[in-house]
Amino acid sequence: MRTTQSGFPATRRLILQGAGVVALVGLGNLPFGLVPAFAANDKYPEDAFKAKSDTDAIKALYGKTAEPSDKVKMDAPEIAENGAVVPISVSSTLPDVTSISILVAENPNALAASYVIPAGTLPSVANRLKMAKTTNVIAVVEAGGKLYSTTKEVKVTVGGCGG
């Protein structure tokens, strides 16, 4: 969606982004074919899951880059009790959230999960992920057509009793 953020002229933003869909400013719904790269009832984002790095995965998923935002909150442990089951939850106070994705930077493939948030669903998700090692967990939220993120390092250790 190409709506304006606080005070930032939509036209300038759109021209900068090279979108050229000025007519859509202020509209609540997008006509078919002009939806964001990742919409409800979408196909499984195969390419994004095959991407290695988090930047490649985000690009494959959304076609844009995310800016850090304190309006995206992530709850993750300091030290995972076990890398196989790391409880992570993400929520956002941003309006018009359409998607939440979670990436584990140094996993073999960074994208762990991606959630479609239709209108009327709260911008919040909790899940349990695998982490191969200590690395950054990145939560990306698509809101109002833009991407926002937050990052937290979660430590993963070799279990002491695991031999």
Partner: protein, 287 residues
């Protein structure tokens, strides 16, 4: 620092008086006093962790560390042992080929009795654990025994533990010298060092609860069996007391005994007895 040394010294003294350390094969002249043992055992842990309530100890490492506790709380919202538990309920009620079922082998149909296990069987003169009783039930009814370590045995004990949730451990030591001896054997096993790493159960679970062994937080020995059987993230599945005893032996690079061998049965007897009064919380989840 001082307190820890004092505790360690006190423990060493306790261990020495409890059995002749490495010297004489038999127990010292004084008769074992399980009642005093249990009291001292519980006091040691409540003194060491004054902020915890007695029942908190059944949560193992989760009651030892805030970060761990939050991860556990999250898992408990919809615990990973749910599937094992459902399977256990299904298996428990399924009749054997001869028409009988597990309920026929246990008091109260096997419901709400887990806290009474293990018990000392005076006819047999040995400790009988719940896992052992389940396989004996199968064999008595013409069914093949199942592995003690996981799968169906874990599922069945998960269900039986669940029906006893909240009930305090109520292990009895009858006035039979053999029962006292079994208790004492278990206690001796617990405090004896073994394996290449030369650890006793106490090295980790009495001397260092809440501390890390490499990167894992150690559980206190008090209440350590109350959450059994457990879904361990490490195992990606359920495991029984037998599984944990054998893997623990392997991990300190000792030779694991056969599940339900005499030493393990006696060990379970001792560990359960000294946790009398603490509630059954099984099935549980662990890292």
């Amino acid at each position: 620092m001082n307190l820890r040394s004092a505790i360690q010294f006190g423990l060493a003294a306790l261990a020495l008086t409890a059995f002749a350390f490495g010297a004489a094969p038999s127990i010292a002249a004084d008769t074992p006093d399980p009642v005093a043992d249990a009291k001292a055992f519980q006091k040691y842990f409540t003194d060491r962790f004054p902020k915890l309530k007695l029942e908190d100890f059944v949560n193992g490492p989760y009651s030892m560390n805030e970060d761990m506790h939050r991860q556990w709380e999250e898992k408990e919202q919809f615990p990973p042992y749910d599937f094992g538990l459902d399977l256990g309920k299904e298996l428990f009620s399924k009749p054997f080929k001869n028409g009988k079922s597990y309920a026929d082998c246990f008091a109260n149909g096997g419901i709400g009795i887990r806290q009474n296990y293990p018990y000392f069987d005076e006819k047999e003169g040995k400790v009988v654990t719940l896992e052992l009783a389940l396989n004996r039930c199968r064999e008595a009814n013409g069914e093949a025994p199942i592995s003690y370590l996981k799968d169906d045995m874990a599922a069945l004990t998960a269900y039986m533990a669940f029906t006893s949730r909240g009930k305090p451990f109520d292990i009895k030591i009858p006035a039979d010298p053999r029962a006292l001896e079994a208790y004492d054997n278990g206690k001796r096993y617990f405090y004896t060092r073994r394996g290449q790493l030369n650890f006793s159960c106490a090295s980790c679970h009495v001397q260092n609860p809440g501390e890390r062994i490499r990167a894992e937080i150690l559980a206190p020995a008090l209440g350590i069996l109350n959450a059994m059987p457990i879904y361990r993230s490490e195992w990606g599945g359920m495991g029984t007391i037998s599984r944990r005893f054998t893997t623990c032996n392997s991990q300190i690079r000792g030779v694991p005994l056969e599940p339900q061998s005499d030493e393990y049965r006696d060990l379970e007897y001792y560990l359960s007895y000294v946790s009398n009064g603490l509630p059954i919380s099984g099935p549980g989840a662990r890292p």
